[in-house]
């Protein structure tokens, strides 16, 4: 295809795109061309401007600077509808912002047609279903009428993601933008997605594939570009048969001139004393009870796919939920927290899985978010000390290298990685006894990921019982001394990291009872 001049002409060109929010210039002149039949992977650390660039393309920010050309002619993306008209479809990372709750799966699939008035908005399933089925068939989803007429709320995260992808493809886009499409998918689903991406590429669609995961590049991308600090920095094009991408160069340009450490060598530590003992605990409604000991002085990595019971385990220990059955002991004493405040008082902390819904407070400053769990330590009697609070906020910025204008900056105006550093870091200020980190690296760039793992290991070295829960084996291997595999609520494997290789972990994860 590279020899065909028509195919090589760019479908979509971005020329000097700039975008600012108040005084904050996020995009400083992005120039990028997308070509039919080519997958362009866009990488960038958190805060590099990826999300902003995607939104410019999707018509969300019409007041950007620079020019967008579609097939050579300048276009104004004044609205998402305009973007769709020009054949640009985007599958956003945040599902809850694009799925319409309260409607059926079928209605969500044909939503574009409904808002364009091509299909009646009143519930006429007889007319919706054939079209919905047609769209679902693009991905071979094989959803029955029973699934299509369900409330979309009943779909899991992975299926919702597939729904959105199908919906975008139903519009026969010339340009498809995928924003971290694999972040919520299981291994098998990722394979299916890659196959689909390849099929679309061969059909001549220009694909912009936004990701954090370097491991996906070889499989999926023909071209790699790196966005850093609002500009494109590294561009590599690969033809079939060419040498693989220069990964160290990609990583260096993502992180900038600051030091790039080779993935750090983990010195495995084995803990002795048991912190948390679980006995006959049932995590899910249909699974056998498990026993599990979590020890001080080591980082336990709990690996499992979505629905394996990871969050149930973490939330149960933290007292945010009750186990379906079973008992717990903490330092040998019976422990049955009735409320999260009880866990926090005992030094048992949880960083929840969903940062936006479970840890962030809209409009709250970095300092306020950081001090909320430990208000007693920044107050006298019940009176808050602004000075002490400010110190905690500043310490958060200094200790974790949080990029912020100051401790009073609203947390939601920081990038995802910096937000995560704060919601993780605030607990480390409270000298944890047990620290539970549920998917702490989701939507976080390599730099922040390294900082968070290092801090987690520091806590463990200082004697804490640290538990990291993730569906990503690589992430877990980087941080954990011991790996526990959960499958459908049951422990399938429990080994020290040095005694087990990736294949064995992946095999045990894929074995279903």
């Amino acid at each position: 295809m590279a020899d065909d001049p028509a195919a090589a002409a760019p479908v979509l060109e971005l020329d000097g795109i700039t975008m600012s929010f108040d005084a904050n210039e996020v995009l400083k002149g992005v120039t990028l061309a997308l070509t039919a039949g080519r997958v362009t992977a866009l990488l960038g650390a958190n805060g590099a401007g990826k999300s902003t660039l995607i939104k410019v393309l999707a018509g969300v920010y019409p007041d950007h600077g620079g020019q967008i050309r579609v097939a050579g002619s300048p276009m104004v993306m004044e609205s998402p509808m305009a973007a769709a008209r020009h054949g640009i479809q985007t599958v956003h990372q945040r599902i809850d912002e694009t799925i319409v709750p309260g409607l059926t799966v079928a209605e969500n699939l044909v939503f574009e047609e409904i808002i364009r008035g091509e299909l009646p908005a009143v519930r006429s399933l007889r007319r919706l279903l054939p079209r919905a089925r047609q769209i679902a068939d693009i991905l071979d989803l094989g959803w029955s009428n029973a699934v299509l007429t369900k409330d979309v709320f009943e779909l899991g995260i992975a299926d919702s993601q597939l729904l959105l992808l199908a919906r975008a493809l139903g519009q026969h886009p010339r340009v498809l933008v995928l924003d971290e499409p694999t972040s919520t998918l299981s291994a098998a689903e990722v394979e299916r997605l890659f196959a689909l991406v390849h099929r679309l590429r061969d059909e001549g669609v220009a694909i912009l594939y936004v990701t954090h995961r370097l491991s996906e590049l070889h499989e999926v991308a023909d071209e790699v570009v790196v966005l850093r600090d609002g500009r494109i920095h590294n561009r590599q094009v690969r033809q079939a048969g060419d040498a693989p991408f220069d990964m160290p160069a990609v990583v260096r340009s993502m992180l900038g001139e600051s030091v790039v450490t080779a993935s750090h060598e983990l010195t495995e530590v084995r803990g002795e004393r048991v912190a948390i003992e679980l006995r006959d605990v049932r995590l899910l409604s249909r699974c056998e009870p498990i026993d599990l000991d979590l020890r001080y002085g080591e980082v336990t990595g709990i690996v499992g796919l979505i629905g394996a019971g990871k969050s149930e385990l973490a939330r149960g220990i933290f007292g945010a939920e009750r186990f379906r059955s079973g008992t717990m002991r903490l330092d040998g004493q019976p422990y049955a927290p009735r409320h999260t405040s009880e866990a926090v008082r005992k030094g048992i902390y949880l960083v929840p899985e969903d940062r936006a819904a479970e840890a962030m407070l809209p409009g709250w400053s970095l300092t306020w978010t950081a001090t909320l769990p430990f208000l007693a330590s920044v107050s006298r009697g019940s009176m808050l000390s602004t000075a002490r609070e400010g110190k905690v906020g500043q310490a958060m910025i200094d200790d974790f290298g949080v990029v912020a204008t100051g401790p009073s900056q609203p947390l939601d105006s920081l990038s995802g990685g910096n937000q995560q550093k704060v919601v993780v870091g605030r607990w480390m200020h409270g000298s944890p006894r047990v620290l539970l980190l549920d998917e702490p690296f989701r939507g976080v760039d390599i730099g922040a990921r390294g900082d968070i793992s290092r801090k987690a290991r520091e806590q463990s070295a200082a004697g804490a019982c640290v538990v990291v829960l993730s569906s990503d084996v690589e992430e877990i291997r980087e941080v954990a001394d011991r790996i526990v595999v959960l499958v459908e609520g049951e422990v399938r494997l429990d080994e020290y990291t040095t005694e087990i290789d990736n294949d064995a972990i992946v095999t045990s994860m894929s074995e279903v009872a």
Partner: protein, 341 residues
Amino acid sequence: MPEVTRVSTLDRIRDAVVRYGFVAVTVVLFAYFALSEPAFATSSSIFTMLKFAAVTAILGLGVTFTMVVGGLDMSVGSTAGLAVQLAAMTMVFYNLTGPTAVVAVIVGGLVVGLLNAFLIVVCRIPDLLATLGMMFVIQGAKLIPVNGQSVSSGMVLRNGSTAPGKFTPDFLKIDRGFVGPVPLPVVIMLVLVLLSWFVLARTTWGRVMYAIGANPEAARLAGVRVGLYHGLAYVISGLFASVGGLILVSRIGQGDVNAGSSSLLEAIAVALVGTSVLGLAKPNAWGTLVGALLVAIVLTGLTMKGAQYYHQDTAKGLVLLVALLFSFTISRRKVRYTPAT
């Protein structure tokens, strides 16, 4: 490498308007009435206005607490009405002392608050619906012991005898008393405003309440005892409503069956107006006070200008809408919870 930051003059003006616009409107209106009506700006007239504002402001403060935790107390008006009945019954029917009546009223307010807290926190009924139900229940139930009649000194009871007691002079002093030159209700109002501001802005309790209003799940996962503080806001609201009722009944000197019923919407309105003041975009004690003062200024001014009674509701509505214009239309800022210390 720092980029040139450009904050346009327009943005700066907008910011100033959002921050101080509402206070400016209040001052301008005051000046207008003061210049056009010589009687308006006299000290007695000003104290009358402040007294007028006191009941609304105190009820509004209670509503403010419930708005801070993300709810809304619809029962403050009827709780004030209950206070009126309780005070009248204690003194007129049972011939007890003024202080006893005060205790009865306060206990009544606390009980209502606890019931609201129970319905919302334990039974998990949405705030608005629980307090709406409570509002109707109180409105009817408070009239059961008095057979639906207003209670006044010397009234004839159903068994033919005359009611034994009357409103005691010390009780009537609640509204008519002074501290120095300042009427007692105004002092009570200012003390409660200061107290509320202190609790909300300066203590861990207030911080936790704002956290619950911002994201209750995030608050819970930070170890906050969400139910406790959520309920506490309603207990405070019930308490404040009963204090407002106390001033009200002391003012009218009888157990009027309708007392307090008009206070609900005013209290909610001033608390909402309060969210716009100073551009904080969150419920706060000083804002609620400014809201109550503005309503008092407008109503007193209109009355002096000889406006018909029905213009009062229109004026209140316009005040509320202007306030909402400030926070929703002019301000580009999203709802903020960062402190303006």
